[in-house]
């Protein structure tokens, strides 16, 4: 007999947990579709050369190989570690077959060979949206994707959240105004991004190590205190005395985006001028969402604008903006902190109880009619005493049990309240159960 053991870092949910995940995924998907994002899917594997194109640390990569590959010529493959690289490759490969602006969502598992620990998985779902266009992508797209992203976060309905935003141009312009060179600007972005983890002293140390003067560093560190609601950004930022054009351009972009997003999104958003996000490819707005009550959980999602998505694969100019939600970590948090009731072990609305096997065909017929009327319906698989059948419905979280009455009508029992009522026809049942 083969031994069973958990594979560390590869989570597996019980049915009631998977149902919760499904409900969340469907909500998010429906929101993204409301905005016109369409699904795409890429293979789980890419060429290793594709995965390495953006210079990922390859220690985290999972290589995939036929167990007994005879053919040494076979392509070297790896599991994708995010959805951005596969999407970039997809857009480059199919560029002439897409209609622009191309707005896609992508919900897939990704794999990273990181050391597994609480809230860190080796296999996890990401849910990404991105809008890309040829040559020129107006800020309306940043605003739209951001609004959809915020609405998705809001739909989770599990905890207070906040989206921190900044603009890479604001940072770059600020550093430019301090006469930092390219390498220093790069190091300064990395350093200030860590202020929540290493504190201001830590940031100052890194700035010094990057050869940045004390006076510039002390100016840079003031960025950490610039945190204000997006709604107040325009008036607050005007107090910051920087006239570097790049800085002003970034400020103006954020003001424009703020004017185009939903009120609800604006209310949940805070500008933090220290926010930098590690990845190199961002060029405009950047954002990161967190739960106020679970700071240790870190980011639930984030994203931003990048001027050239496909540059690693094509010479086309295809700017984009996108946001990603880390689904599996989110489910892990919900389960860990019990943020949602996990009671449903079924999507069924009603269980048809079976008095005896002679009644089964009739029960099946009623069930078929209910299903055709949009009511998810189970028929009990045996015909034991009714108490047993009610117990099953209760265990699965099926809210109603239906009994065939002797007069050809039905008795409908609400399991929660215990109430039972007579219903004379299937159409009446459908109306009651929808």
């Amino acid at each position: 007999m083969a031994k069973i053991s958990n594979i560390s870092g590869f989570p597996e949910w019980l049915p009631e947990e998977k149902i919760l995940e499904e409900q969340i995924l469907r909500k998010i998907r429906s929101i993204y579709e409301q905005y016109g994002f369409v699904p795409i899917e890429t293979p789980a594997v890419e060429l290793l050369t594709t995965l390495a194109a953006k210079g990922v640390v390859d220690k985290e990569l999972y290589a995939v190989k036929r167990l007994h590959a005879e053919d040494q010529e076979e392509a070297e493959l790896g599991l994708h570690f995010d959805l951005t690289v596969p999407f970039a490759r997809y857009v480059a490969q199919h560029a002439s077959d897409l209609v622009y602006p191309f707005k896609r969502y992508q919900l897939q598992k990704v794999w990273r060979g990181e050391r597994p620990q609480k809230g860190r998985y080796r296999e996890f779902y990401q849910f990404d949206i991105d809008t890309v266009a040829r040559e020129n992508l107006p800020l309306s797209c940043d605003a739209e994707a951001f609004t959809a992203f915020e609405q998705a976060l809001s739909s989770l309905d599990i905890a207070e959240y906040k989206i921190k935003v900044n603009n890479r141009k604001i940072l770059a312009g600020f550093f430019k105004s301090l006469q930092l060179d390219d390498a220093q600007r790069h190091d300064a972005v990395k350093a200030i991004d860590k202020v929540d983890k290493i504190g201001k002293d830590g940031v100052l140390k890194e700035l010094a190590a990057a050869g940045i003067s004390e006076s510039a560093a002390s100016t840079i560190i003031t960025l950490c205190d610039y945190r204000f609601p997006l709604a107040k950004f325009e008036s607050e930022i005007s107090k910051v005395d920087v006239d570097e054009p790049l800085f002003l351009e970034g400020v103006q972009e954020l003001i424009t985006i703020s004017s185009l997003i939903s009120d609800q999104a604006r209310e949940h958003t805070e500008v933090q001028l220290s926010l930098a996000r590690g990845l190199d490819y961002y060029t405009g707005i950047i954002a990161e969402a967190c739960f106020l009550d679970y700071p240790e959980f870190g980011s639930v999602g984030g994203g931003g604008r990048y001027e050239s998505l496909v540059s690693d694969f094509s010479s086309l100019s295809i700017p984009g903006v996108g946001f990603s939600i880390g689904i599996t970590r989110l489910i892990g948090l919900i389960l860990d902190k019990k943020l949602k009731p996990i009671t449903k072990k079924s999507f069924s609305t009603v269980l048809v109880a079976v008095n005896s096997e002679e009644d089964r065909v009739q029960c099946n017929t009623v069930a078929a009619e209910l299903r055709a009327g949009g009511v998810n319906t189970e028929v009990f698989f045996k015909s034991p005493r009714l108490g047993k059948q009610i117990e099953y419905a209760d265990k699965k979280g099926i809210p109603y049990v239906l009994f065939m009455a002797e007069d050809g009508g039905f008795e409908l029992k609400d399991i929660q309240s215990g109430e039972q009522k007579s219903v004379s026809s299937v159409s009446e049942l459908i109306a009651a159960l929808q």
Copy 2:
């Protein structure tokens, strides 16, 4: 720049093709949920020892390893090649946490390192349902799963289909009545299963090679001619003169199942006594579906009853019955033979045209109201002349374009018919577009 190339055997759909796949998946999922099947998902990887438990040909397995695994102790992993083995492992592992009968669906990609060719993929979706119970699973479960499976096939609406069924007990009883020993019965099952590929002569050769006498072989070969509609099975099978109890038990099972399935399922089903299905674990009903007009396509799905799902992992007795649909091959067929129109590049119902950037906030507001009313709505990302915007909607297959009228009302254009009508309020719009 990293070179892009297709990875042979790993299909990737364009957005409009993926939308088609999504529509099919949603239909099937909704049908399975109507019957009370709930989703589960297992990791893409299993321990190699788990995958090998059922004695799979390991040449087809994909092994997964961190590219620079330092730790030699790390578990040896492979991508799952079907959903049955992971499901068996899942049930064994979580047996005490499940409510029985446990009815699950599972839609996941599986990977097989077979030589890629037309209609054969290395990565593909399978959509499985199974019902399992402790100790004893009544035939009502076979009938229910079969009915749901047939309804899923029917929902595809692409071609005439037929489900061939048989019962392993009929075959085993038949062979027993001919005094075949265990090994010969096993070989006879394998041989007769191939009759559509190798013809009767081929089957006879294999039977001879298995040491089966000529007279027994000539009796076995008559099975190939027993093909009749399920509705006529009871009367037709009574003409077959076998009184081996196992044979009669198999016959009775099929008759019972036939009495419990939907009329529609019965009408699409044919008993073929030569149907055997290769896999060893089937013990009762077996089924295989095909499209009448595409015999070369082979099976679109199939399944059957197995007495012990988890025996490789646990000593529990957990019988089950289940059916599987090969989604990716199906999509491949639809695309290849153009069995469905591939016109929708979007789930959106309406595009809000933007006259000028000053109108964008107002357009966003209307769009938000439409979305809240259940209408998938896009807002055009720029504000060029309206012809350009209509062209975009047309290219994406968005059926309506909405213009803001000067009087504060709206003009709604039906792109197909070219008709345009005035609508005065958003609620009227929602009613018109839902």
